[in-house]
């Protein structure tokens, strides 16, 4: 195998997988707390458009990222309010969030350009690559792993951090109990509602961050359907990762890799019709989901958080 091809594919894999991984880890946290948020696609969209708009108008990438985080968190909080305080059906609420978020992002994309015009097609500041001295000179992997943008480096840090927080800290312990068995958590004095609100917002923020990576680094700029279903693939990856941040990396790498292969094949001028290549990630998602779900025995022991998707109320009943 041509080594430089491998390096190139690895590099694109990481670049393509970053947004996916942020969204996946965000949703892992939300689901671990027991809330199912299917609005990831909408939150990524909103994150993407707001990040680009802010970057375009203020030239500040830092501000853009912050706004994306806030936008995602805000949108997720609506879902949290509906799901937790109003005990609405979480599936429908999340779907609505996606519809609404996508529409809102489209709306903003039409309105947040200079003087209230469109953002589509504009060129704005973007996240450049930042090679890490010494490490980026490593053979084969150096220029792929250590020559990425800051948000990709951020994802390197966030994965172990997310794992440590979940399994080794007190708040992580409480979060897991809330998702597994909210009655017990409540009886032990943990504020179930507050915990769920927090991690739903965190999940939204990370999804927004994922969207920001798309518009600031990967696709650079805003287009309709910039996410192309990544938010949904993230939801599937949460299951693939069995709700564990470390395993999420494998899933994101897999899909980043598919993106990368698509890219290279099209660049190399292949005879396979573009449509078929574009279908790959979606077909792959289905296949992955089937394989994982079918791997039953594993599922029984490391399954979904026990109370996922079920509203909790301290039942006042005789």
């Amino acid at each position: 195998m041509n080594l430089s091809l491998f390096t190139s594919i690895l590099s694109i894999t990481i670049r393509a997988g970053t947004s996916l991984l942020y969204a996946t880890i965000g949703e892992i946290y939300t689901e671990r707390a027991g809330i199912l948020n299917l609005g990831v696609e909408g939150m990524m969209m909103v994150g993407a458009v707001s990040a680009f708009a802010v970057a375009y108008h203020t030239d500040s990438l830092v501000l853009a990222v912050i706004v994306a985080l806030l936008a995602g968190a805000l949108l997720a909080s609506v879902h949290a309010f509906l799901s937790i305080s109003l005990r609405a059906n979480q599936v429908v609420s999340g779907l609505t969030l996606t519809l609404f978020g996508t529409g809102l992002a489209s709306f903003l994309g039409q309105r947040l350009g200079p003087g209230g015009t469109r953002l589509v097609g504009l060129v704005g500041p973007s996240l450049g690559r930042f090679p890490i001295p010494l490490l980026s000179d490593l053979p084969i992997v150096g220029s792929a792993l250590f020559n990425q943008d800051l948000l990709s480096y951020g994802v390197y840090a966030i994965v172990p951090l997310a794992w440590w927080y979940l399994y080794k800290t007190r708040p992580g312990l409480y979060m897991r109990s809330v998702g597994e068995n909210p009655q017990t958590a409540d009886a032990m004095g943990i504020r179930v509602g507050a915990v769920r609100y927090l991690y739903t917002a965190v999940g939204g923020a990370l999804a927004g961050l994922g969207g920001a990576h798309l518009s600031l680094a990967y696709t650079k700029g805003w287009t309709e359907n910039i996410t192309g279903g990544r938010g949904w693939i993230a939801v599937a990856l949460v299951i693939f990762a069995m709700w564990d941040p470390l395993r999420a990396v494998i899933g994101a790498a897999l899909f980043g890799g598919i993106n990368a292969v698509q890219f290279r094949m099209q660049a190399a001028g292949t005879t396979i019709p573009a449509a078929l290549l574009n279908m790959l990630p979606y077909i792959a998602t289905i296949v992955v989901l089937v394989v994982i779900t079918w791997w039953e025995t594993l599922r029984k022991r490391i399954g979904a958080p026990g109370a996922l998707g079920l509203p909790y109320a301290r039942e006042e009943k005789g």
Binding site: R170, R176, N181
Partner: protein
Amino acid sequence: MTGERLAVPVLRMAGITKHFPGVLANDHVDLELYEGEVLALLGENGAGKSTLMNVLCGLYRPDEGTITVRGERVDIQSPRDAYELGIGMVHQNFMLVETMTVAENVVLGLEGLSFQPEFRRVKRRLQELGSRYGLQVDPDAYIWQLSVGEQQRVEILKLLYRDVDILILDEPTAVLTPQEVDDLVEVLRRVVKEGKAAIFITHKLREVMMFSDRVTVLRGGRNVATRSTSETSPEELARLMVGREVLFQLERTTCELGPTVLEIEGLKALNNKGLPALRGVSLTVRAGEIVGIAGVAGNGQRELAECITGLRDAVGGDVRVKGTCITNCSPLRAIREGVSHVPEDRVEMGLVGDMTVAENLALKAYRTSELSRGPVLFPDGMNRFAQQLIDGFDIATPGPHTQVKFLSGGNLQKAILARELMACEGLLVAVHPTRGLDVGATESVRELLLEQRDQGTAVLLISEDLDELLEISDRIAVMFEGEIVGVVPAEDADRDRIGLMMAGQRLDEEGAAP
């Protein structure tokens, strides 16, 4: 058992009143608890015991009334407040997270737990407490790996870890073997010897006599009496609990036994965790008899019922109904062969809450020609059928069009029984049919079961209530760890013998009775 009676009780609840929609659960209840004693809170299901204790441990807010702890008026708004006051409860459904370890469960919600919990220190303290009170358990074990008795130990350790000195236990013996019950008595004695106090909720008279120093009896939401255990008797307590002379014996006639209806041979099955639940069960039930299955919950009874009714596949052995093999067939096939099932999870499995009474009563019969023809249903037929059952079984409901979720527990069970008995063509499998029902409903259900048997149905009755089994069964089979360890006629059954069998001693073994 001597308890030092101080002038001031360590806990006093006064005038506690609690409403729920449609029911007054606690009606100005008073309660006192002294240091160093074990108080039994006795009453039937629905008498208000759990409600009262839930108020005490912060899960419910009382509408009226006051709570005084060690002389000071307190307001308990949450379980956390309760812990701060030294009050904690071991619930009937354990409040444990299965996928976490013992140590993690114990520190959940602990006041002052550091950001990165130091589990080494936690484990050491757990081991200390364990040996002090006789509650040894492996702190690194996952809850799902533990037996029910061990899980209960974790629950008690949770309280002791938090320096709780008023312990409340809700029906603690429901899930224990007789040996484990003795262990629990020992633990409680050690605990109160140090000056703590314990309240345990029960509806079993024998336990009151065995465990407690004093007993408070609740009936219909009111405190009707408090006695010193040594100065009362089971008969008096029963009368106080129920308010009338209790019939301890139902009329039972001997019945002609018919042909064998249910035949189980060497049945083997796994439980949901993939572990063996049935290890070769063999049993026969004939028409016109009630065979009771005794045993502590979790010894394979649930799996046995599921295998017979088609809800679980067997990995070995046979189930035959009226000669036809129905092993591993679908629930529909079992129904077609004449098997009726009154399930354990009444509301979750036996009924569709949002549907009407008529629809629920038709759940078995809708396939018959009375209620449908071809693909089409006859709503009039359904209503008539429902009215028949409502009248025949005396089900209290505003009408057949009421949603079934609004019915009371006893009437829900009657509805299920009505449906199942109507559809029954040979075998009735009843699992914990009187669980959670009040005395009136319990008697009705038992009468219906006897009636069914008199009409020639074969009945398999699974129950955790040994008294009930002794009362209405013809024979009792005892299950332990997935096997039948003995079958005895109910007529002269020796209760202690059965208790031993429930704990694993086989019928033919000579063992010294305790």
